[in-house]
Symmetry: C2
Subunit: 508 residues, 2 copies
Amino acid sequence: MHQDRVRRSDLRDLVVSAEEAARLIKDGMTVGMSGFTRAGEAKAVPMALAERARTEPLKITLITGASLGNDLDKTLAEAHVLARRLPFQSDPALRKAINNGEVMFIDQHLSETVELLRSRQMGPVDIAVIEAVAITEEGGIVPTTSVGNSASFAILAEKVIVEINLSQPAALEGLHDIYIPTHRPAREPIPIVAPQSRIGLPFIPVDPGKIAAIVITTKLDSSSSVLPPDAETRAIAGHLTEFFLHEVKKGRLTERLQPLQAGIGTIANAVLHGLIDTPFHNLTMYSEVLQDSTFDLFDAGKLDFASGSSITLSAAKYQVVLPELPRYKQRLILRPQEISNHPEVVRRLGIIGINTALEFDIYGNINSTHVGGTHMMNGIGGSGDFARNAYLSVFVTKSTAKDGFVSSVVPMVSHVDHTEHDVDLVVTEIGLADLRGLAPRERARLIIANCAHPAYRDALSDYYRRALARGGHTPHVIEEALSWHAKLRECGSMQSEPASVSAQSLAG
Amino acid sequence: MHQDRVRRSDLRDLVVSAEEAARLIKDGMTVGMSGFTRAGEAKAVPMALAERARTEPLKITLITGASLGNDLDKTLAEAHVLARRLPFQSDPALRKAINNGEVMFIDQHLSETVELLRSRQMGPVDIAVIEAVAITEEGGIVPTTSVGNSASFAILAEKVIVEINLSQPAALEGLHDIYIPTHRPAREPIPIVAPQSRIGLPFIPVDPGKIAAIVITTKLDSSSSVLPPDAETRAIAGHLTEFFLHEVKKGRLTERLQPLQAGIGTIANAVLHGLIDTPFHNLTMYSEVLQDSTFDLFDAGKLDFASGSSITLSAAKYQVVLPELPRYKQRLILRPQEISNHPEVVRRLGIIGINTALEFDIYGNINSTHVGGTHMMNGIGGSGDFARNAYLSVFVTKSTAKDGFVSSVVPMVSHVDHTEHDVDLVVTEIGLADLRGLAPRERARLIIANCAHPAYRDALSDYYRRALARGGHTPHVIEEALSWHAKLRECGSMQSEPASVSAQSLAG
């Protein structure tokens, strides 16, 4: 039974039901589960865990790679299983539990979680639950559509539960490159010098004696929730393309650009998609999540190689790409998120990092996470890993939200995830501001003129003019700096008259 | 004449007066000058430049390593020579010119400036002015008490002016390790695996044909402005020592700790000094500035090796250390600031980074730079390079400032330089908060209880209680979040009654 999937014969006796495996997880434990951007999460054991929580008290600390698919975070949150959750999530029900204080959420740079576990500054991890396509003859675990933190979870945990997912194509084997940095302070350089560098093993090496249970599953990954490009995201992509062309003309970039990273989500995906109809060629990606746009770029003959930590696709794309995996495989690597997002590698390769902002301020500080300065959306994810060390750090967003009642460009962001030091370009559908080498006062003028929605431009200029009268390197009217957010909270709008925002009027 | 200092004979004809050399610098040029934390700055040419500005229009962009000594930034600011200044400064007169908008100041991570110059995203550098102890037979430039950005300035600039400082001891030669990362994206790993790794040359390699003038000088470096430890800084050091001992007991650190970094300034210096009377031993430093405490630790037999980008000492220490340099030399390296602060190396070595905050908030966000959220103090310096990638990121400050009228712990910082993601410990003389693995609500309770001054504790608790009632991952009363700063601006105090703060009552 499943001899090709559980190739080490002495482990085949460990196959049990999800319920039985879940029983290894006790109240109060810290559990590390596979799963990164809705790809490759363990699917059966967490459902069994949620079920069990109906009849007995059960609270765990759940650490993953990033967000989970198949409504797992929703199910676990609604079953009140989660005492603590890290380092990222994107589920509305869990978000609610985080924001009402039921779940303690620790929002971390995605490259750092396993550093903290490895140095025992967090943890220990009691049990790892890892989705796999196979267990090798040596007992090595072959991940599925994501690596995330799975390798370190399996290596550090006392016990490992493996979910063998028969629906995940066997062709995934060979795609992964598992490399774990050595202990500090005697650590060696990470030998990646290009997106295509292979430096590790195609499986997670674990002591087979730690594998405590194997569960057979068949559920597919959820499809991505990314929306197709629209007029505004196309306008954002257009501004960025124009900028890249300008940089090529200036001799600062070549038509191969630099290795590309794009954060998860509709806008970043649309920006990458926008590179199809450009003169750029022989592109590479060194990113965390590989979305539809990666495969569109492959198919368009634009992309030579893509390195990531997961593959997260729309339903339509999934059905095309997965059966064709052998065709793409030579141009793909999936790595642990510690390596896909590693500051050392990001800085060395000189990545162009494109990430999404919730809002940014007139000085280029970015809020990626907190609605109204207080309520968690998803988490910082890998944006900090990339933005800080990128060759070019780009943040994109539409200039307004909530039907124009919210301006994405504000006097002062209500929460800072990325400081102005880490932001080179900000782009909305209105335009792009190139902030490189500019002082705050220069940034403000450019951002207001180039990026703010016309409906908010005057109010921003008025604020800046009054701030300027008070002086300072970064002028503010401090008692008014967050008044736009206070007004939004009270009146549901940042201005008296809502901005008139139709995609046509903006992008046309 | 100066044959031992200008060892390449064909360059000796280039010796000219400072005035003559300064004439190479034209209005509108970008000039890269040596100097890092008041050490090793070019001393004569900038003075001549300021003098010249009395009689002719002269504005330049001045890029240095970090802050300059000998009142150079003051002199240049008062002569209105500076149109643009980066990446760091610490002079009151320049600060004033920055805050009133006369000088455009670009506040950068100290490791990043030369990346931007090398990739031509800033610049070009027209002229470099570098203080040196010698020019070698090959024409290599041997820096003095700092390396800073001098190597890249000299390599990238069209012309180089060298100031040979006869007062800087010849024994400095051999101390430096000049390594320049290769071009991206084909960059190799930086091969540093320990603070004592030597990977480069003992001089800056430049095309001798670019050396356009040599000026002979004799002025000494300014002494550091660091104050001796007081009761409060001793209390901060005490809390941190206690924490380290606890970590050793838990097996997370050894008595050798991890390589240490300490930011410039009184508190960080005092914290390092505090390690003398502890069981820790065989310590190493991988830092940017080496201050008095480094040599105190050497003399106490506590420190094995120190790597930095500059040596900045008090007058008393300077007179002891400089003549004894040969004795210390085997245990010292000075590197380019790009390398001393490089994220790749900081993460690899697992550094304990200790930096100073102006203020921090109840969630652990740090303001290092902006007084009242608007007025620049010095700049972010290297704190971001270290804090983001450190094994342990520590921020220290006294719990109050301005005779107790200002609380250093506030509801929301008025400017963010380091986000909560990058902050592991915050320490005041009151106590220490260990934030590792905690959610914002847990951080707030700990910071208020452990770090806030008693005079402000109730007001912070009251704010937090009311914020909590509104919910959110990071609760705030958004319209009040910056009210403490607004009040300070209006009334000169953050509270009705000033905190009674005597060193005795706090630290006793």
